[in-house]
Point group: C2
Chain length 677, copies 2
Amino acid sequence: MTRHPAASHGAAVLAHEPDGFSLLVAGKRVLRHAADAPCLFVGRGEERMEMYRGNFDIEDYVVERVALRHASMTGETVELAAGPGEAPRLRLRLEGGALRFEALDPCVNRLWLRVPAEPDEHVWGGGEQMSYLDLRGRRFPLWTSEPGVGRDKTSEITFRADVAGRAGGDYYHTNYPQPTFLSSRRYALHVETDAYSVFDFRHPDFHEIEVWAVPERIELFEAADFLGLVETLSARFGRQPPLPDWVMGGAIVGLKDGARSFERLGAIREAGAKVSGLWCEDWVGLRHTSFGARLFWDWRADETRYPGLRQRIAELSEEGTRFLGYVNPYLCVDGSLYPEAEAAGYLARDGRGATALVDFGEFDCGVVDFTNPAAADWFAEAVIGRNMLDYGLSGWMADFGEYLPIDVHLASGVDAKLMHNPWPVLWAEVNARAVRSRGRTGDALFFMRAGFTGVQAHCPLLWGGDQSVDFSRHDGLVTAICGALSSGLLGNAYHHSDIGGYTSLFGNVRTPELLMRWAEMAAFTPVMRTHEGNRPAENLQIDGDPEVLAHFARMTRIYAHLAPYLRTLRDEAAARGLPVQRALFLHFPDDARTFAIQDSYLFGPDLLVAPVWQAGESVRRAYLPQGVDWVHVWTGRLHPGGAEACVEAPFGRPAVFFRADTAQRELFEGLPGAGGV
Amino acid sequence: MTRHPAASHGAAVLAHEPDGFSLLVAGKRVLRHAADAPCLFVGRGEERMEMYRGNFDIEDYVVERVALRHASMTGETVELAAGPGEAPRLRLRLEGGALRFEALDPCVNRLWLRVPAEPDEHVWGGGEQMSYLDLRGRRFPLWTSEPGVGRDKTSEITFRADVAGRAGGDYYHTNYPQPTFLSSRRYALHVETDAYSVFDFRHPDFHEIEVWAVPERIELFEAADFLGLVETLSARFGRQPPLPDWVMGGAIVGLKDGARSFERLGAIREAGAKVSGLWCEDWVGLRHTSFGARLFWDWRADETRYPGLRQRIAELSEEGTRFLGYVNPYLCVDGSLYPEAEAAGYLARDGRGATALVDFGEFDCGVVDFTNPAAADWFAEAVIGRNMLDYGLSGWMADFGEYLPIDVHLASGVDAKLMHNPWPVLWAEVNARAVRSRGRTGDALFFMRAGFTGVQAHCPLLWGGDQSVDFSRHDGLVTAICGALSSGLLGNAYHHSDIGGYTSLFGNVRTPELLMRWAEMAAFTPVMRTHEGNRPAENLQIDGDPEVLAHFARMTRIYAHLAPYLRTLRDEAAARGLPVQRALFLHFPDDARTFAIQDSYLFGPDLLVAPVWQAGESVRRAYLPQGVDWVHVWTGRLHPGGAEACVEAPFGRPAVFFRADTAQRELFEGLPGAGGV
């Protein structure tokens, strides 16, 4: 078969074939079309989408799905029709390394693209995936939503959450989906679309991309190795602001105990913990519902709950400790900001033109309409700027983003179904703009769980969402690793999680073991932060048990000890977009045994971290990549690469190894507790 | 718009329309095709089907689904293509009142047909449906399988059964599906196909029929009223053999207690119960597994468990009581029949040509290949004929039928996926042939849970499968009513269920209330039969409590008292194919309030039965159809039709009414316990 290169943009070449065409990226065939094996299908679907507090029930009725068998090529443009002599329904144009799509049939609202697959190929990405790093063999709908409780239809917790509120979720549910994947064939593919999409990696011979629209573009990226691919993707989606230096001084301690939070912080410090920040999400005050205490969603300090807060923040700052708060894109109807926003027309509307109200469980909220530039400006300036940054906050959880109801009417006129996925990016942008307006980019730190294509440019730190307070496979500690690694591949350098998890339901509560194991892992992530969880009184807190507190304090010292190393990783992130937590294969692209590992990771290039993520374990087995030797941090014992190591991992000694050839040996050998056998 | 009648067969007329065609049945439009609203789609799917002990996990990947917009009509033939000038892919021909289909494109393996729907239309049928009588608003895959345990994804039992063995099921799972529906527009539609199919009644404007093949025919039936439709369908699918007279003498008592069964029967009789038969499924002996005692699947009497059984059967017969047993289409490898069948080549084979073995939990079985005429003959003659009928049995549970593994190789060469649905019919035919060979049609009574199109002609009695031993909405007592009514509409005149239900799992056990309420209902069905259930020792039996036994005995007398009436219903079934248990609308076609009622039924034309089907209820509300008055059997009080009646329904007095204008008044007024206020 002969190929005639027709057009080349960057690395991409559209090649005529006798029976169709191919798209080659650096010689790799990423599309192959022939009349008897078409790579494109278009059609029409009628979706049913129902939302229950951020959980979606989505189903598609595909009315038509037509193979576009007939391709006619002119230069770098391809027109596709169902058959010869039929009206073309789709036009593709290779432009700047991307395939631009144009619908020629206005009835088309579904597109399916098949990408050739190899039998032993691995694929990664899809945003922040919590269950599977290697996506091969499964189907991943990409739609920002609540991730679910338990996320495993065979678990009792998921069953109960499903029955109680359709909230159980499944393996693919995530706050941060992104239609981008990397292949072990060393290319990456991104679908530029705001629509609902699905990556289906179940087929042996092809990957199928489904988009509930004709996408704007399919972008292709190629590099000699995976690090190069990540750099390229980071450049494409936007470089994150640098991690603030102050964060590296110790843990951010999350307490929501009103004024008592300050006292408890003192005691935690006295126990020897290094603390960089105090995070009080209840800085806005509480609302009491039958579900228990909830935050009061009106974004300004509640000086009843925190008397003299402004002054206390200033005092804390003098001690070198920052204060962080909480915000989300909703305004409760009984707050002070709601009437202001409503009067100005800043809130999304319902089908009758009235302010759309969202029920959050015994209280209703308006949705700030970020497609209205004036509303976004107001939220950035008046709410985050004035009420938060000017008040003294150095950071906050920028919660939600994945809940945009699909039936609201927005100022931009764009269908809310098409704004749902990019909404987290608008939300990140509002936060980033506020930070920038005060000149505090790289200093003020907000963290988000929701995301979509482009969130990288705005959000300085992801957090892994609301894990259950357990060791479960699909919603426990180990999922925070998967979230860090998958999102890291798409240019999200910084990730962290709630130490001890968040969601405590149906009698599931934190054990001391869980809290300690999670703190151990967090010491080897960019940010170490605690959270009291959704039911603080029923769950163990880091200051609730002397042994747990002592362990936590020690892990904060380990975290702080690594600051010089973390600074090099921050610089690497700024320069190249590489994540702090890295899938093993990023540095060992030729070691296929690393391709599906998702329960251990590289912390920068030199440390390999294998957290204990199952209950009752005190010995950890972990594969060490080939080509270098690895030194077990706590014993100094050398382990060869290319084999599994098996080490004792009692509390306080998570399985951590450094490369024998590291330039940071002195730092690592100086870790508290490290040393000879 | 003008219509030009082009062809008419019976009631069906194919009419040219300026932009397509219509199919009219007695003036009712049942198909409407236009280029911009096509009624036919064809395409290609790749199914994934996995079986776990009769439970299926089925998913379809639809590669193509193409609207056939262009129709060209010649006389009574229509050829359909995707567009003008394109090759036709499907040919339809109106012939004998049916649309015959012919695929012109060999790649097509999926077909979707849209039938116009009206907003307030109701639809019924789909085989023996256990959850919903009115199918409107839901989607019904039609594939014979285990019905599931709990059959409700929000129930704890279904969750546990799913986790334990993917056995929880859902609302549409049934042992007996059939691609036939009746519409309140007073027509019926049948799809003649053996393939997997789906009836989708969720759309407001059309019903969609999906077939995983090009079906042979779509058959249409029309009548002035619903009784006429049922008569027509019964004529089409085959008239059932009549219900034996001996059955009407009392209950068939199911005991599986070895020789002790006879003693227990004596005690049950002494308590005043009318008994027509003793059913011992353990007549073949037991196998002890870690799950408990199972039957020994080698179809001949086990005279160790039942010493002198042949003689005891004869003695029983002299007392006027029949003996019934059990059989299914499998042979256990350690039995006497397996080597005989294997040597003769009567067993289905696997992909390597060896005998296919099916694991039933600690024992393996061969599958008798009924597509091999010699195997079917052998099973009918040597197994059922000689070992069962000649031995003295007057009936049996002909269990299973819905389990044909989809990967076995059959003598006929037909794909097991296409034999899976009709397998129950082959199984019924083998049983019916054996009965006929001994001249005992209408006397020997076998009962089946599995079915498919055509089972009506062979199987004299359906049983509603393995309900859970509870009052649950989707797997309890009430589902036996739905099963009777839905299957009855398709010409299955006789239906019954296990008194007290069968499946006791996860600590769910029979209560006295359940057993009594079920016996009450069973007295007003064609056959009253008990079952000890899957865990006899852990569950209450009819002879396990004096109050329960006295109640049961009384209900058997009520059943036996109704024999003269039941005989008229048997005659009606033989003459017209009408079911004994009837949906209310069959006799009240103009009373739309009856269209969705599935928790009460007509027992013949004159009795309305509203069983208590929820725990803790002693008052029953029931809608009484319009146009006649109704007499409450126990009090003699008159209730007007067209309104709800509310009556006391203590144990022993289920809510039963007779038509005030009945010719059977004397019989009904003579029911034990009936009388004035």
